[in-house]
């Protein structure tokens, strides 16, 4: 029996392409966020609210990832921002190569902020670096307050948490204080926002934070 000892990260190829994407975005001076959540938490609505606030002061471009359809790209294109839809045809997450191909289709010289909306899934997208500056995880109050404990890998890798659908709090069993505690337990550095995309509550705080990151990039 002979042994070959290697230490190779399984996702090395993805990480190399992600590093390449990161370098490319850096050269264009673009701040990039990877927006993740379970399906239906409100990523696209949050993105629409964000576009309402930031455009045109901040030049935003968008990459949409979905298993099927370009419905999200259609929604985003109403805000007159460049958008590329990636359809994964069944795959549960975006990979760096898909983002690289999408970057080729965007006028990067005219962007300050790139938002990548990942496939709705709190598990798989955690493992795949896309080249973003930060991950932002969205949870909705209807999902309960235990999500951070159930999906720690994702919350651990995120820089910010947006708790969405706060307008529904009177009707659901979700304790915001408990949700915050659970989130900080997994990731003590997590920045936490509370929003209702329906009423607009909290959107300005989130956008102010994001705008500051874009300015300091």
């Amino acid at each position: 029996m002979s042994v070959i000892t290697i230490e190779r990260k399984v996702l090395e190829k993805n990480d190399l392409v992600a590093a390449d994407n990161r370098g490319r975005l850096g050269r264009h001076g673009i701040f990039c966020i990877n927006l993740v959540s379970s399906p239906g938490a409100g990523k696209t609505r949050l993105l629409e609210r964000t576009l309402e606030s930031l455009v045109p002061t901040v030049r935003v471009q968008v990459i949409e990832g979905d298993v099927q359809t370009d419905l999200d790209a259609q929604r985003v294109s109403r805000y007159a921002v460049p958008v590329v839809q990636i359809v994964t045809h069944g795959a549960c997450h975006l990979e760096a190569q898909l983002v690289r191909d999408a970057l080729d289709q965007l006028p990067l010289e005219d962007a300050d902020l790139l938002v990548i909306e990942n496939v709705g899934n709190l598990v798989c997208p955690a493992s795949f670096d896309l080249g973003e500056a930060i991950k932002v995880v969205v949870v909705s109050t209807t999902e309960g307050d235990d999500k951070p404990l159930k999906y720690p890998a994702m919350f651990r890798r995120a820089a910010a948490l947006v708790i969405n659908k706060t307008d529904l709090l009177p009707y659901v069993d979700c304790d915001l204080a408990v949700l915050r505690t659970h989130a900080r337990q997994v990731n003590p550095d997590l920045e936490v926002f509370e929003t209702s995309c329906r009423t607009g509550a909290g959107i300005e705080e989130w956008c102010t934070w994001l705008r500051r990151h874009v300015q300091n990039r």
Binding site: M1, S2, V3, I4, K9, E95, C124, P152, A153, Q185
Partner: protein, 120 residues
């Protein structure tokens, strides 16, 4: 369910590290998995089984080594080690953890069976 792609990557990495003449001797591939890597060991083993029969080394087995999560409690300052994800410090039962390691997802070793004895 991204374990299929992960299993494929493991086979590709193994292929890159084994000289062509030794491909038929690959007996075992060792991988390291941390509790926070986002990959489920059982699913990975299942996907590996599904792919390995059509790989250059159909007889290879996958051995998954679970490596522990290592961290420090921000409240009692003690070091924490666990092979499973834990949400809070097991010493003081309350503290928040600063996790330093636990994302491991790597191929560590490939074992080759002995070549057939030369005919004398």
């Amino acid at each position: 369910m991204h374990e299929l792609g992960i299993a494929q990557s493991i086979l590709e990495i193994a292929r890159e590290h084994v000289p062509s003449e030794d491909v038929g001797r690959v007996a075992l591939i060792r991988v390291r998995l941390g509790p926070l890597c986002g990959v489920v060991g059982d699913s990975l083993a299942f996907c590996f089984e599904a792919l390995v029969s059509d790989s250059p080394f159909p007889g290879a087995r996958l051995v998954i080594e679970a490596v522990p999560l290592v961290g420090r409690c921000l409240d009692c300052n003690r070091t924490v080690e666990s092979t499973e994800w834990i949400p809070s410090c097991p010493h003081c039962l309350a503290g928040r953890l600063q996790i330093e390691r636990g994302d491991d997802l790597s191929v560590s070793q490939i074992e080759l069976s002995d070549p057939p004895a030369e005919a004398s």
